[in-house]
């Protein structure tokens, strides 16, 4: 590591830490319908939307209605995406004359974009028309991110309100989040990125002569607009197959830096918003700290493993699969950020990371994408872990457990367990199936423990709604398209539904006032406790699988064997 790398890391962390309260405060104003500077600019769009859709923004619903509205909206999204992919050949905006996709790819991709996963079993430039990319994917990039924030918003209301069954209006939450947060932010980011050289056009693919004299087809397209939201909405679905490693998607070190900031900024800001909305900024900060500890832990181990000597290649850090434009630190940082935040955009091939940094990326996803996590999704996932931590450790102060004054009882525990279980189920069952069935093994490019890591990575990415791929796996098969598709659905809605149920149940409870007998959730002790619970619960679930994958691989590499 050079001084330059160190400066980069420090800059990255301090800019984010500095922006967190600023962004968090703006999100707070939007969420609570307060006065903010975007209201005069885009207020008309909000009211037009309500009028057009016939929504009464003031009308609030209970959790069941909220959930069914959300599920309905997402179902329509999946069906729409599914249909336009199967018919894109007959639809306009298809200059490259791409044919219709296969049904299983269409299913996988539809689910993938609606669930904010953006797992891509295909290469964008050779599979999807501009129409599908823009009307389908870009729209879902916005609304799937907004869905995540809406869920969080409902949970916050459930926790901070008392003795009511109303947790908000899904349509209002969706509209406000999209119009005031995601839309303006992506316009700004798209313009900046375009300034850095990210392409934005509707041209047909160009054929150019390379320096060596051969011909190369350069795919074109409206990339900047989709890339801005792919990062801000922690979607991760690239315009091009190589994602943020592609020079048209991520041309300069500055654009790379901005992209990483864009991934983290909303999830980070939300911790502040959360603290402010539940009436304890200190608690928000504690969550931020916990996520920060886990982030730095993963980053530290990853960097150490990438820079430490590889006995096979001498002391040279491995550059295979990484862009020389970015170098090791930027690639590792990007890999940790993108797997933490459930984004899935990549600027290096994770398949080529050292076994240990590959494992960190895996663990980040296996822990449930709660280290800052997807927009909204990361925090509500974290709230699940908070509930478990409060329940286990809260008893040790001699009171029945309570979180922010609300009692944690059988129902909350049951729902929290369901939410923890859902993604674990996907990862372990599907990976086990894939690792012994011929259809699963057929997709592997690499033998040995690395192949197992590839399988684990695919399902962790699906279950965590991350969307990044280990790249070694050929996933565009019926088997993988279906299993990862189902995995994404379970990983998304298997958490959203129980979380909303918790919100609905918590809203009805009364609030116990704070006293010195209350279990504190706003100090270092709680931050370390929460970290420990996340690591132990996550670790215990996946330790056997990980030890047979990346751990073995690492040990074998140290004894001179690679895959």
């Amino acid at each position: 590591m050079t001084t330059q790398d160190a400066i980069l890391l420090i800059l990255f962390i301090s800019i984010l830490a500095g922006l967190t309260p600023v962004v968090g405060n703006y999100l707070f104003m939007v969420f609570t319908d307060g006065k903010h500077f975007m209201r005069p600019v885009l207020g008309w769009l909000e009211s037009v939307t309500y009028k057009f859709a016939g929504i009464n923004p003031k009308e609030e619903t209970n959790w069941k209605t909220y959930t069914s509205n959300l599920l309905l909206f997402n179902l329509i999204g999946i069906v729409f995406l599914f249909v336009i992919q199967l018919t894109q050949a007959y639809l306009p905006l298809n200059p490259a004359h791409l044919g219709n996709t296969s049904w299983h790819l269409a299913f996988n991709t539809a689910v993938s974009f609606v669930t904010n996963t953006n797992w891509q079993s295909y290469a964008g430039e050779t599979t999807q028309s501009y129409l599908v990319q823009m009307l389908g994917f870009t729209v879902q990039n916005f609304v799937s991110a907004a869905t995540g924030m809406a869920v969080l918003l409902a949970v916050i209301r459930g926790i901070s309100r008392k003795t009511t069954d109303k947790i908000g209006n899904f349509w209002t939450d969706l509209t406000r989040t999209t119009i005031y947060i995601l839309l303006p932010a992506s316009v700004v980011l798209a313009i900046v990125l375009a300034g850095q050289g990210v392409i934005q056009n509707f041209k047909t693919y160009e054929t150019v002569q390379t320096v060596e004299g051969s011909l190369q087809i350069l795919p074109m397209g409206p990339a900047a607009s989709q890339i801005a939201i792919k990062l801000l909405g922690t979607n991760g679905g690239g315009f091009f197959n190589a994602n943020s490693a592609h020079p048209f998607e991520n041309p300069t070190p500055l654009s790379n830096f901005l992209q990483m900031l864009a991934i983290f900024i909303i999830p980070m800001g939300l911790t502040y918003t959360y603290g402010k909305m539940v009436g304890s900024l200190r608690h928000g900060r504690t969550i931020f700290l916990t996520m920060g500890i886990l982030f730095l832990l993963g980053l530290g181990i990853s960097l150490y493993s990438e820079y430490s000597s590889n006995p096979i290649f001498g002391n040279l850090p491995l550059m295979e699969g990484k862009e020389t434009r970015f170098g090791i630190t930027n690639s590792v940082l990007f890999s940790v950020v993108t797997t933490n935040a459930s984004c899935g955009a990549v600027n290096a091939m994770h398949d080529s990371l050292s076994p240990i940094s590959g494992m960190i990326a895996l663990i980040n996803m296996m822990l449930g994408e709660v280290i800052f996590g997807g927009v909204g999704a990361g925090l509500y996932g974290m709230i699940i872990f908070i509930i478990l931590t409060v329940f286990i450790a809260g008893l040790m102060v001699g009171r029945t457990p309570e979180y922010l004054g609300k009692k944690i009882e059988a129902f909350e525990v049951k729902m929290a367990i369901v939410a923890v279980l859902a993604p674990s189920l996907v990862i372990l069952l599907f990976s086990a199936w894939a690792s012994v069935s011929p259809v699963g093994l057929a997709g592997l490019n690499n033998p040995g423990p690395h192949g197992l890591s590839e399988i684990l990575y695919a399902y962790s990415s699906a279950a965590g709604n991350n969307g990044s791929a280990f790249a070694g796996l050929n996933a565009n098969t019926i088997f993988y398209n279906l299993t990862t598709g189902i995995g994404m659905l379970i990983g998304r809605f298997g958490i959203i539904v129980p979380v909303l149920a918790i919100a609905g149940n918590m809203a009805q409870k009364r609030v116990t006032p704070l006293s010195s007998g209350t279990f504190r959730t706003d100090n270092w002790l709680f931050a370390s406790l929460l970290t420990a619970v996340i690591l132990i619960v996550g670790g215990l679930t996946f330790f056997p699988a990980l030890s047979l994958g990346p751990v073995v691989e690492h040990l074998l590499m140290n004894s001179g064997l690679t895959f």
């Binding site: 450790a393 008893l395 040790m396 029945t400 009882e409 010195s516 007998g517």
Partner: protein, 691 residues
């Protein structure tokens, strides 16, 4: 505290019974109530089947046999912990049952007295109990007064007074009338009397899971499912790794090994001890002579954050005591003391007696006989509001009186004396400080003031400070005026007080606190306390109280000691802490078990030049062999249940400290301790196995 025969934590007879019970509890119908242990039982059965099949195939594996044995032990140890806890309750129930002998009762039918068996009595029957009779069933005294020996239920040998009307009218079946006679209306049918319910409770026959216990069971089942998932998918990953290492699929993990891993991972420690913890909570209350009508009540006790405490008896000693003689101008203190003592010689109230004692202590004025003094005693009446004596001496009749300032003022004015302003000032000053001033007068002259003070119980201030640290607010309830109440509140260190409180004020206060999210605990005895006791989250009725109060509360204090409320809260907190501590310990333990078992089971995979599997690098405990590693983990897992039984029964050590301090303490002991201990435990067992 009473001196109840203490049941030792482990005595031989109880242990023998518990061992028997552990086997009885293998009944699947009983086992399924505890999902974690049920999983272990399934593992034991299947592993045993494997052992038998091995024998059948002529390939007996001693290793599999050992695993089967230790899995069975795990189930038995969990059953044993529950049986021990129940056994202690049963022993206490037997003590109670001895007192419920087949007594005969004098049932009153009209004017006649009929002898019937106690079991034939129904609610509403009237019975007569004479000295020496055993009271046949629970009831309320409707006529008469008697002293009753309640040692059968309280262990307290000093008899207590039970009388009709008022707050001491309830009698309990099985207790014995010592003197006089009372007429009782029976208030419960056979089988549902106080002692019957008590027996059912301590035996755990009616034990239902408490809300927190249910939530915890769900968590434990959830964790078990997660580990079940991790273990059942392992053979697939293993098969993949076997083929990657070029080994045949037949070398995959065997059923006994998989169950060994599963049983080590699922939270068997807390799963096995959970019900023992709950039962022993009841038991610990009983040791303190408090009976909870449900386990839910004990849990709620831990959550209580507002305590309503009656001033008298809880915060102050029962009665006011004389502490000072403050003479009027021109009167010596000795003169005043002498008059005060004379006026109180026949005053049998505790206040009166305290004046006599003070006079003796301060001025060595001995007790005198009133009739020898040629004096007549003037008792306190509601009209005069004074008491004293009329003393006949050579120079005529002297009237000595003591009473409230107003009463004495009118007495003096009637005798053409005058009431000095200075005395009035002293009186106001004392009242302001929370004392009760009594003015003493002789004929038409004021002699001075006796300072009667409420004596705050020793150590109570510190107790309240501890409660405050634990986040519990104390509210003093008193009928005194607010001036007096404020002074005592300040002296005792309570957080708040309610002066001139009427029973309905209590009820209103409880509702207010609850509306603000607080959980309220209170202790009471009278009929007028019943609504408040019922409304409070924890209502402790004193056994000496009325039947109505006893029905309304969710706990009964057999000692009728108002300070008990605080102890009850502590027992509740201790119960919850024990549960949390053992859960944390159980989960933290898993880390070490992974490090024992994972390298052991994958010893054959990716074998390098050294001849050992590459994952043996994870064998940081340096365990002897793969088999001994697995066995050690399973044995540790089983034995730790037995080792923790005393802790489950006694509860974790309890200190009155803030939540944060308590958490830090318990985390260090049970969290970090739970992480480290099994590394040493497993290593030790491994060494022993490989000897």
């Amino acid at each position: 505290m009473s001196t109840k025969p203490e049941i030792k934590l482990f005595n031989k007879r109880l242990l023998r019974q518990a061992v028997q019970e552990s086997f009885v509890k293998l009944n699947p119908v009983l086992l399924i109530k505890n999902p974690v242990i049920f999983i272990v039982a399934i593992g034991s059965v299947l592993t045993t089947l494997v052992v038998f099949m091995d024998i059948f195939n002529g390939s007996f594996s001693f290793f599999n046999f050992q695993i089967a044995v230790w899995l069975w032990f795990t189930v038995l140890f969990a059953n044993f912990s529950e049986a021990v806890a129940e056994g202690r309750g049963k022993a206490q129930a037997d003590n109670l049952r001895k007192n419920r002998t087949q007594t005969q009762a004098r049932k009153m039918t009209g004017k006649h007295e009929v002898l019937v068996f106690a079991t034939e009595l129904r609610k509403g029957d009237i019975v007569l109990c004479k000295a020496g009779d055993i009271i046949p069933s629970d009831g309320e005294v409707i006529e008469g007064i008697a002293s009753v020996d309640e040692s059968a239920i309280t262990g307290e040998s000093a008899p207590v007074i039970r009388e009709s009307g008022g707050d001491r009218s309830a009698v309990t079946g099985g207790t014995k009338v010592i003197s006089d006679q009372i007429v009782i209306r029976i208030t419960s049918d056979p089988g549902s009397t106080f002692i019957d319910r008590m027996i059912a409770l301590v035996e755990g026959a009616k034990r239902q899971k408490t809300p927190n216990e249910i939530a915890l069971s769900i968590l434990l089942s959830g964790l078990s499912i997660i580990f079940l998932l991790a273990v059942t998918t392992l053979p697939a990953f293993f098969a993949y790794s076997l083929s990657a290492s070029g080994l045949p699929g037949s070398q995959n993990l065997t059923l006994p090994v998989l169950f060994a891993l599963l049983v080590c991972l699922i939270p068997t420690t807390i799963g096995g001890l959970l019900s023992a913890i709950g039962i022993s909570g009841m038991d610990r209350l009983l040791q303190r002579n408090v009976i909870a009508t449900s386990g839910r009540a004990i849990e709620a006790a831990g959550d209580v954050d507002v305590l309503l405490l009656d001033k008298t008896g809880t915060i102050t000693l029962g009665n006011r005591m004389a502490t000072d003689f403050i003479p009027a101008e021109g009167v010596t203190p000795a003169e005043l003391a002498d008059a005060a003592q004379l006026s109180s010689l026949s005053d049998e109230t505790p206040e009166g007696r305290s004046i006599v004692i003070l006079a003796k202590e301060k001025f060595n004025i001995r007790g005198r006989e009133v009739h020898r003094l040629n004096a007549s005693f003037i008792p306190f009446t509601a009209q005069s509001r004074m008491s004293g004596i009329d003393l006949r001496t050579e120079d005529g009749l002297h009237q000595i009186r003591k009473g409230s300032a107003e009463a004495i003022r009118s007495f003096i004015l009637n005798n053409n004396g005058f009431f000095p302003q200075k005395i009035q000032d002293i009186v106001s000053e004392l009242a302001r400080m929370g004392a009760t001033p009594l003015v003493v007068a002789k004929d038409n002259k004021v002699l001075g003031v006796i300072n009667l003070k409420d004596i705050v119980k020793g150590g109570i201030k510190q107790r309240f400070a501890e409660l405050r640290k634990m986040g519990i607010q104390t509210v003093m309830i008193t009928g005194d005026n607010s001036l007096t109440a404020a002074a005592i509140a300040a002296e005792a260190g309570v957080d708040d007080f309610m002066a001139e409180a009427k029973p309905e004020d209590k009820l209103r206060r409880i509702r207010e606190e609850q509306a603000n999210g607080h959980l309220v605990g209170m202790i009471g005895d009278g009929t007028n306390d019943a609504p408040a006791l019922a409304q409070a989250d924890i209502g402790i009725a004193m056994n000496s109280g009325t039947q109505a109060a006893r029905e309304a509360g969710n706990m009964i204090d057999l000692d009728s000691n108002p300070t008990k409320l605080i102890e009850v809260v502590e027992v509740g907190k201790q119960l919850l802490m024990t549960r949390g501590a053992l859960t944390t310990f159980s989960i933290a333990n898993d880390v070490a078990k992974y490090f024992a078992i994972i390298p052991a089971i994958s010893a054959s995979l990716y074998v390098g030049k050294s001849g050992t599997g590459i994952l043996s690098a994870l064998n940081i405990m340096q365990l002897g062999s793969p088999q001994s590693a697995i066995l050690s983990a399973v044995i540790f897992n089983a034995i730790i249940i037995v080792l923790l039984i005393p802790l489950a029964l006694r509860g974790v050590r309890y200190h009155p400290v803030s939540a944060n301090t308590a958490l830090t303490r318990n985390l260090i002991i049970f969290g970090i301790g739970g992480l480290i201990a099994p590394f040493f435990g497993i290593k030790l067992i491994d060494i022993l196995i490989n000897l």
